[in-house]
Amino acid sequence: MRRLPPWPTLLGAYLLGALGATVAGADTPGATAPQRIVSLNICTDGLLLELVERRRIASVTFLSLDPRYSPHHRRAAGLHINHGHAEELLPLRPDLVLAGSHAATATAALLDRLGYRVLRFEPGENLQAWLANLRRLAAATGDQARAAAIAASLPAWPEGAPDATAPRVLALEPGGWTAGPGSLTDHVITAAGLRNAARDLGLRQASRLDLEQVLMAGADLLIVPEDTPRSPSLAHHMLQHPALAGDRPQAPRQLSLPARLWTCPGTHLLAAVEQLRGAATPYPAPGPPR
């Protein structure tokens, strides 16, 4: 048998492969609901776990398993875990890929080019945005009824209108990062009827605050993440600085909340608002500004 010449063979194989991928990824009209859904982003993981039954979820990200940062870490246990690499996902033969609009963009773009159906989501900064994402996902997966049921079961988002005497709160993350106006944390603080001290500092986005600026902000309450003593860092160490220690009369009171509350919007935000409201209630109205 004559050996085939190399370059036409390679060219032919390449063309066949490209054609095959296009056929595999093409949206046939009237197709059944996606059965192998893959998520590349921790917030879309949350949406997926809330909406779709487990047997249709092919993979979620490794971040969802981390109890420090994932509000849905228990539900993610036992599912296939990916690290956002295309190589891990191709063997799963996904029929729907969910990606965030900012992270893993190279992987999402690659899967797009290979013909897979990729849906991108903005994480959103409040519960309304989350519900909008939920409905959009439901339209793609065919779970519109379930999405409507979830939306109906949730209580209304509290319209807290903090007045001028409401306690001032500063939400600090390791390293001195604080939430700017319009962020997730800012929405929760406002809904709890409190004032976000970051607004008074004239911050327009998430910014890094110096320790001196934190103190001079004159907040009545500091929200800090629950500490992780097993794995220290300089950023966490900053939050343990003696100047912020609660035993000093000038230092603001501290409330420890798990960092996973602020990673993504979701139904857990309602509990966060209640917790914040409860923590701030016994606090007396602040005196004149110092």
């Binding site: 890094r208 110096d210 001079m216 097993r230 300089l234 000038q250």
Partner: protein
Amino acid sequence: MSAVRGERRALLRLGVLLGALLVVLAGASLLVGPAPLQWLQVLGGLLDTDAGLAALVVNEIRLPRTLLALLVGASLGLSGAALQGLLRNPLAEPAIIGVSGTAALGAVLVFYSGLAGDFRLAVPLAGMGGALLAVTALAALAGRDSSVLTLVLAGVAINSMSAALTSLALNLSPNPFAAYEVMTWLMGSLADRSMQHVQIIVLPVVMGAWLLLGSARGLDALSIGEDGARSLGVELQRLQWRVVAGTALCVGAAVSVTGVVGFVGLIVPHVLRPLVGHRPGALLPVSALGGALLLLAADIVVRLVGGQVELRLGVLTALLGSPFFLYLVLATRRQMR
């Protein structure tokens, strides 16, 4: 005899001048910061008459930062002068020859692994251990091969290795913020330090400084050559161990708190050497003062520049020090061979 007394008077004058400048800069350092405090409030905070936020900011944030700049700067200046005297190498400096790098590596390994737990002294001790390893190896190398170039190249190798291992350790840390802190360890920072940091390093720094200052006479003798020093009754082995231990204590403890800050121990001795008549022994105390001045000035500039991302201390000292280093390399080319 009057010449010696004249020398001593000149040295004293220089010391007093540097000391006065130090007091002025320390005062300036207490006034600089993002919080808008007037100097009266700062004074009140120091004397504790004002029990408000000003006292908190001044006593818990600015005062420790100033004290740390003094201690660390003095350590770096002093050990730079001592190393230059011992190794008889004009380019010897804790950061260039790799001592600061290994100290930072030791501190990073212990801090991020969480091994230290509540034992706060563990981190500076690890820094001192790392520094001891490097300075012992380099002293042995300099003993066998007295070429200026060999020592600097050995420093390049040690620095590359310790920087790589430091980055690796930070990348492998389970804490997600650790990987972003590599710049702090490799370029140095005094931000958000507290009195606790001052407490844990003041003892090793003072002990190390005592050891190094006590080597003044030996270094003076060594400047006329090893045989000459022996004939003057100096025990070379003891001198070497004194400088090695003193450097490990000073630099190890200092770097474990700030990270690697380079070139202080290079610039200060070279600038002050003509003012003390090129005597290595007299250079030691003034280098300590000069190092403290330089680091304090750099830290003030860092805070004045401000900005979202903190400017690292080592960036400023490198901006000054690298051209200076290059100039020295070119000026001492003949000694390199």
